[in-house]
């Protein structure tokens, strides 16, 4: 059994700040995360051509790793962290990922030795647990996935992460139908159940190998909703619903920490402010310097309490200013330098508040994820921390409450459409039971009937 969170790591929202976490973690080559400074976490994707063989792939990662550290030294950055998100071949062939981790770590060691630069390395195997249209969360693919974690831990990865997919078969259906109870079921319940299983095992591997079980992200669900929601003028999903998926992710992603993860949480987990408020673990975040990877409506706000600052992903290619990884890593590191200056001059909270305010009223998503409101959502989750269903429902209820209350303040101007979607969501959530068992069995019946790719028996441990 995992240990549920039923209280907050921070007394007040205002105690949260970038660069510092209640429980910092330490990588092998001097880097500490959450120990009083922010560090860039650089992400990259190999060029498509590089995928044809193991040799080409290894050489691609060798080049880009060197590029990143070399640039960091040239500009005088005291630290840098790298994240390798596996392409499918690297996870399906555990030795590939392992070798790449080893090659990268060796380069980091050389630079650390020569210049004293502090370095970290995260590996994120792909969640390969699927079979065409069907999830295959348990079984052979699960075993391969665990082998992959062992291999990258052996190779030298400091931080172990993954973006798990439990619940996604329901979310994909529910999110296109404004089905909030379905989102609660998908993200809060099924997602949480899957995470409990997998993170218990990842933690074991991390402990065995002396590495850090870092954390998950609800990329597969909350980010899917965020992307479908898109920009201000997109018409695919109300942003008031996208934020409900996100706060649900807060409840879900927390399970990883309950199973022993220690952070830094994964960059694309926009739920991480909530997570940090509950766990006190350090987090990675992405935003305005991850536009290479995606567009979001809260580019500064996500910096507010980050410990690592990431560009999410950029394909390795040339730019006028160097290779793409050099360009983006320098931008990230400069952002980090500004935050670290704020810390050293005693202005961290001022900068934090400016970052939050610059996006807080841009969109309902930013409004809720602003650290003060995110903290309230955290409180709603831990209130019923022992009940995966209730705490997920609480997160939604609290969010709706905050958004409704915002109307009085009059700064977040929601479109009529967003307000209607919110009202509909409220009605459907108010109608829900408070009994987990009832909700679970009702939902099981409903989605077995409606979603043809739903395979509850083989994918979840009930």
């Amino acid at each position: 059994m995992v240990k549920r969170y039923t209280s907050m790591a921070y007394k007040n929202a205002d105690d949260m700040i970038f660069g510092t976490a209640v429980h910092p973690v330490k990588a092998e080559l001097g880097l500490e995360v959450g120990a009083g400074y922010v560090t860039a976490e650089v992400n990259y994707a190999p060029r498509p051509e590089a995928g044809v063989s193991k040799e080409k792939l290894v050489s691609e990662y060798r080049k880009l790793t060197t590029d990143i550290v070399a640039r960091a030294v040239q500009i005088g950055f005291p630290a840098v962290s790298l994240e390798t998100e596996h392409v499918e071949q690297m996870t399906n062939n555990p030795s590939w990922g392992g070798e790449i981790a080893h090659v990268q770590k060796t380069i980091l060691e050389e630079y650390h030795e020569e210049y004293g630069i502090k370095c970290g390395l995260r590996h994120t195997p792909g969640d390969i647990r699927e079979d065409r249209d069907l999830l295959a969360l348990i079984g052979d693919k699960y075993d391969t996935l665990m082998e992959s974690f062992e291999a990258v831990a052996d190779g030298g990865a400091d931080f172990l992460s993954i973006e798990t997919m439990g619940g996604k078969e329901i979310l994909d259906y529910a999110v296109l139908r404004n089905d909030v109870p379905g989102m609660i079921y998908a993200i809060g319940c099924l997602g949480g159940m899957d995470m409990e299983m997998i993170w218990t095992d990842i933690k074991k591997i991390a402990d065995k190998k002396g590495r850090i079980a870092a954390g998950d992200t609800d990329c597969a669900q909350a980010n899917t909703a965020m992307f479908i929601a898109g920009g201000l003028l997109d018409k695919n999903l109300a942003h008031t619903l996208a934020i409900l998926a996100r706060v649900l992710a807060g409840s879900r992603t927390l399970v990883g920490y309950e199973a022993g993860a220690q952070g830094p949480g994964k960059d694309c987990g926009y739920e991480n402010t909530i997570i940090k408020s509950i766990t006190g673990c350090p987090i990675a975040q992405e935003g305005k310097s991850a536009t290479c990877a995606h567009a979001d409506v809260m580019g500064n706000l996500t910096m507010q309490v980050c410990d690592l600052w990431s560009n999410e992903s950029v394909e390795y290619h040339g730019e006028f200013g160097g290779t793409s990884v050099q360009c983006w890593s320098q931008t990230l590191n400069m952002d980090a330098a500004l935050m670290n200056t704020a810390i050293q001059t005693g202005n961290a909270k001022v900068l934090r508040d400016m970052m939050a305010l610059s996006d807080k009223y841009r969109d309902p998503q930013g409004y809720i994820l602003a650290y003060d409101n995110a903290f309230k959502v955290g409180q709603a989750i831990v209130k019923d921390g022992n009940d995966l269903y209730l705490r997920a429902k609480n997160a939604v209820t609290e969010t709706i409450k905050i958004l409704e209350a915002s109307k009085k303040e009059g700064k977040l101007i929601m479109s009529r459409f967003e307000q209607n979607a919110l009202a509909d969501a409220k009605a459907s959530v108010d109608a829900l039971t408070n009994e987990k068992d009832t909700f679970m069995s009702d939902s099981l019946a409903k989605y077995k009937a409606e979603v043809k790719v739903f395979r509850p028996e083989t994918n979840y441990k009930w």
Binding site: P48, G51, V87, E88, E130, R132, D133, D172, L176, R177, N178, T224, I228, L232, L233, K235, N236, L237, A238, E315, V350, D353, M354, L357, S358, K360, Y361, R362, D363, K411, L412, I413, M414, S415, R416, F417, A421
Partner: protein
Amino acid sequence: MDIDPTKILVRYNVQKEKAQTPDQMAAEMYPKDEPAKSIAKAIFEGEEDDVIEGLEKAIEKGANPIKLIDDVLMPGMKIVTDLYDQGVVFLPNVMMSADAMLEGIEFCKESAGSAPKPKGKVVCHVAEGDVHDIGKTIVAALLRSAGYEVVDLGRDVPVDEVIAAVKKESPMMLTGTALMTTTMYAFKEINDRLLEAGIKVPFQCGGGAVNQDFVSSYQLGIYGEEAADAPKMANAILAGKGLAQLKDMFHKH
């Protein structure tokens, strides 16, 4: 610390919102007569039961169930997709209306004991190696709402399967979705294999990774920027447009 946000950002979506509500705009578009009006309203609201109820009444009064599909259900759905195209209603409304309409069609078919000739058949798929299927799901839903029969091959579909499906179904159009730079090259291969087999079906390709320049590089390819372009292209094919004309229409960049 606090701020007056109007000095630093503009919520263009709020500014651009039409004076009328979607409900009001839809109401103006409903047919005058009953039960067509109630059925259209039920479709707009995504209420399957009300759709069926309306259809039952109409059939009781002697309407031809198959004619109801063309005369009532399809125009009712068109109100929704038109409002979606204008940016007045959002995608989930379309999805839910489509669900309601499709149930209506099923009901009519059962009542008639026969099926109408669909407007045309379209095969949809996500490229091999790619699991990003939401764009494809939207494309399929919009095609269905527009009255097309959709054969949805799902995601991560091997080239062989796509070719086999096209041979089997002889669709008027094929769609492909790819969100990864690594997977979109399968479209070229599909194009070549189709041409080899002498099949010149228009092949609309879209999804995050795909762009017009890439799609232009193979003969059957037509770029689809947003999901709503799929029914538009199907309509254009029905109207007799050939490959060159389709490219002209959809290659805006």
